[in-house]
């Protein structure tokens, strides 16, 4: 299935390779480099590249290309998702998935890759099980290891592998029993110049951190489950009960996992938390233009909008920006032509405004294309779809666990056209 994996950074250096079957020469990556060259931007490299003898399936994450070499017909989604799983495992183990951390932890990386695939087939990918096979590095442990020379490896086999519920290990014990759920929602939206919604949808997910002893059986119910258009669950969730009663009933894996993800797309349900008044104009005579942007809260249900960042990709002819921000700081990078305005918290009494002039390359024609605004934001304690958890019940165990639910709304691909 997956023959080999090459990791390549965004300037094109191949810094790690792993082969699960026979060794495939690095020269196979030349086809990838060719496609990379053609794509100009690293994001533009097509995910599936056809070569005379192989298929190269790649994903681009955190400035690293994960290039897998395939020799037989495979379901492409399988490989793409597996590569993402590899990247996520690295992230999980090392805190971030970057070239530096991978190089620093090259030994663990190899151990992980060895356990995740055998003969090209996925073997163990659940982070629960992997962490018992190979312990993640911690500062403390690496210090202890340096002193004592003990390696970070489990001396016994993970018991979970033989339990009847494959996602949960047997004999879990905690002194503090707790179950926390984070409802995280991302708004993907495109607004047009007048502020009306061209397209909006919410991608949501419930991340859980469950540390409960024994074999607890949990039931999570919502105040308004009909809101959710399209749901998909962690394999532990009993789908039949969701279909009939709209409750989520499950025996949780131990530790962190994503319980479910969902989707809300009916246009009227999607509240847009901010509005933008923007005006950008380039003058026919004289090499200059004007920019005026105001951001304000719209439907926030009484919560504060935080971490607001506005990004604009300016036309190539814009040389510099001389602006004045009433709140936050702005920065224009003349190389990448990106104007970034970091606002912070939105104050409804005093709306932040960014105003000033742009200077253009002299002699260049007035730019045809109008740049778009990308907005990043965050609202704590609010799920913008209005989803609310009703209660969490536990069966099967006697103790009383701590329970908690947090809500966060973020901007996904939130874009305003000028």
């Amino acid at each position: 299935m997956i023959h080999s994996l090459f990791l390549i950074n965004n300037v094109g250096d191949l810094f790690l390779e792993k082969h699960w079957k026979s060794v495939i020469s690095r020269s196979v990556c030349d086809y990838f480099f060719e496609a990379r060259e053609k794509a100009v931007e690293p994001e533009n490299v097509p995910p599936v590249i056809h070569t005379p003898h192989h298929y190269l399936i790649n994903i681009y994450r955190e400035k690293i290309f994960f290039v897998s070499v395939i020799q037989t017909e495979v379901p492409p989604l399988f490989v793409i998702e597996f590569l993402h799983q590899v990247a996520e495992t690295f992230q999980d183990y090392f805190g971030e998935c970057s070239e530096t951390t991978i190089n620093d932890n090259v030994v663990i990386v190899y151990e992980l890759l060895e356990e995740m695939l055998d003969n090209g087939f996925p073997l163990a990918t659940e982070s629960n099980i992997l962490k018992e096979l190979i312990r993640p590095p911690t500062t403390l442990r690496s210090m202890v290891n340096t002193i004592t020379g003990i390696s970070n490896i489990g001396q016994t086999l993970p018991a979970g592998q033989l339990s009847s519920i494959p996602w949960r290990r047997a004999g879990v014990k905690y002194s503090n029993n707790e179950a926390y759920f984070d409802v995280v929602e991302e708004i993907d939206a495109i607004l047009d110049k007048s502020g009306s919604t061209v397209f909006a949808e919410i991608q949501g997910g419930i991340d859980a951190c469950v540390k409960l002893s024994g074999m607890p059986d949990l039931t999570l119910s919502f105040m308004n489950p009909r809101l959710l258009d399209d749901v998909s669950f962690h394999p532990c969730v009993r789908y039949k009960r969701w279909e009939s009663e709209k409750v989520i009933s499950f025996i949780p894996p131990d530790g962190n996992f994503q319980l479910m993800s969902y989707h809300v797309s009916a246009q009227n349900l999607v509240a847009i938390p901010v509005y933008v008044k923007q005006n950008i104009s380039f003058f026919e005579s004289g090499p200059s233009g004007r920019l005026d942007i105001t951001v304000g809260p719209k439907q926030t249900m009484g919560k504060t909008v935080e971490c607001v960042v506005v990004t604009i990709h300016m036309p190539k002819v814009v040389l510099s920006a001389n602006l004045n921000a009433t709140q936050g700081t702005y920065n224009y990078d003349p190389v990448t032509k990106v104007l970034m305005w970091d606002i912070g918290k939105l104050n409804p009494q005093k709306l932040p405004n960014l105003k000033g002039s742009l200077s253009l390359q002299s002699g260049a024609p007035k730019p045809e294309e109008i740049p778009n605004l990308n907005i990043d934001l965050k609202i704590q304690q609010l799920a913008i779809s209005g989803l609310k958890v009703n209660q969490l019940e536990m069966f099967g165990e006697k103790y009383k666990p701590f329970k908690g639910v947090k809500y966060v709304t973020k901007a996904g691909k939130f874009q305003v056209r000028m």
Binding site: R26, V74, V107, L157, P166, H263
Partner: protein, 733 residues
Amino acid sequence: MPYFGSEETVKELKRALSNPNVQADRLRYKNYITRVIRYMTQGLDVSSLFMDMVKASATVDIVQKKLVYLYMCTYASDKPDLALLAINTLRKDCADPNPMVRGLALRNMCNFRMPGISEYIEQPIVAGLRDKASYVRRVAVMGCAKMQSLQPNIEIDPSIVNELYALLRDPDPVVVVNCLRALEEILKDEGGVVINKPIAHHLLNRMKDLDSWGQSEVLTFLLRYRPRSDDELFDILSLLDAFLQSAHAHVAVATLRLFLHLAATHPAVQADALQHTSSPLLTMCGSISRELRFAGLCHVQQVMRSQPGLFAPHYKRFFCAYSEPSYIKFRKMEILVELVNDENVTLVLEELRSYCTDVSPELAQVAIAAIGRIARTYSEKCLNILTGLLALKQEHITSAVIQTFRDLVWFCPQSTAAVCQTVEACVDCTQDSEAKQALLWLLGEHGERISSAPYVLEVYIDGLKTELSSSVKMELLTAAVKMFLCRPAETQDMLGRLLHHCIEEESDMCVRDRALLYHRLLQRGVEQTRKVVMGPKSDPSMSVLTGHQQEPVSQWVSNFNTLGPLSAQDLCFQTPLIALPEQPSNNAEEELLPVSKDVSPFIPTDDQEELNLYLGPPLSHEAFERTWLDLEVQHRETLSYTRPRITPDALQAALQLAKIQTLAFTPGDTLPWKAYLYTRGNRTLILAELLWEDPDIEGSLVVTVKQQPPNQHALRGFVSTLSSVLQTLDIDS
């Protein structure tokens, strides 16, 4: 990768590894080994350290063992004799009390790719298959496949195959899946693992225990199984139902594929499954990972081939976001073109219009081509947009618009007048050869409608010496000859100059030959030339109005969820146009050849089977005309209907539903009104003419039918189908 001082580094490492002081200090020793591995992964050849590394494998430290094994697996095939030294340690590890060590040793031993290793590994593998730890069994099962691939010519050991089939009942789910994977590899030449009824049902019942990767693969293996009865089929489908909604896109899509495959004879079930999966597919199209988004779009595209309406309400999901990579944007535009209907056409066009001024010229051109495709159905709106784009005077936009115009005129003759009006405006700013060719074709083909056409040609002819592209020159020759045929007075002089230049001074053989051809043709007389050069002015198959054709699911399901649809390169609209068998400028050549391929041979059989009309390969205008003239009238009947008072599109669509293709009809309210139809059924080709001469007499629609070969049964069936369609239309209007 260039690496400086590599020899020095290897020497230094060798010295360190053989230093007894270092060997005594476990930590330092391991650090050196780590360094060796790091150099190896950077592409440095450290194979000369093999002996020292083999020594290092004798340790209790598992991490060090793993590192050394990794090293040995990489270089074992280069140094087989030295690798044998390590085998002993590995075999000892295979008997270690710690299952992890056993599994590790077994896995690495199987990974040694060198001749002769199999005699050493066979016994540990067989022992591993019966190990009590599932971890070791997993590795051992895979080991069987590896062993087979090491010695491909040796006969397959039936006892191992039997053992693997037995292990399909193993309590550990990963062992089960690994057995399938291993058997598939071992039995590759015999067609892979056999899925019979007990195995299929066993796997289906284990599905929920498997991890997502296993599920996906089992679903693929199950494609080989054919249920015996409908009851069994529906049992299987209900077991699979929950997986259609799996959190993992690859499982959901694999389940859908199996569903479509199993329910091949139940189109309603297939449609239901597609309906069910549409929301996970849409979610995939909005996924954070752009690769998944891309894969989702490709799958949506496939599903749309048989269910074009399924995603139409969600068309806004396929609007491009600014930051998306171009390969996603291209796919989204392709989908948008397919999704257009009466309700959303304004919004979709507005959206596409905004892409036309994108920073990337490539994207802009694709967007313009997309508008051109939509123009075949909604020509007026699109022509306004395209004309508006010309006013921007951007070179790449103008070029794309002209090419789109050319294709549009060909497919959609009613837009000719509008195109001819606007095309004069963009004469000055065409620079690249593609655009020039398109412009010249338009000038030549529709010269009589563009008043300034000869003068534009003259400019090109005068500038011939500086023209580099030979295809532009060829197009210019054709255009000039065509122009001469319709406006001889203005063109004669410049055509003479052009032919003279091309024959006397041109160095490109193709251009010269083409010029000579036209020259000799003109010597035979104008009428002869006209017959050869002037072809039909629009696409004879009139594929324009056919709109969204629903393909059966079986057309695409075989490569659903495979690499094929994803690896098709990201060229969208241009290709199908270029690949069209009847490109406008080739008509001259094709006319010269005796065309007979359109009339397929039909074998007459005398039977009374039920009539099934079907369209079959499209019939060209000429082929129709020729056949029509050749054949005798088989049947003539006056039907008691009037001419259907609905738009041509609606009539065409209505007939299409009954599998009757409309080839041509009189536009508007002109009299007499005529329509030509054809269809196929029971191995006979049926051609028909509808004629309506007198508006005063109610119900005087005359239908004339010709057939090749004659088949009275099919003919009666056709007439009754046709009259029922007309009846329905009569009531509607």
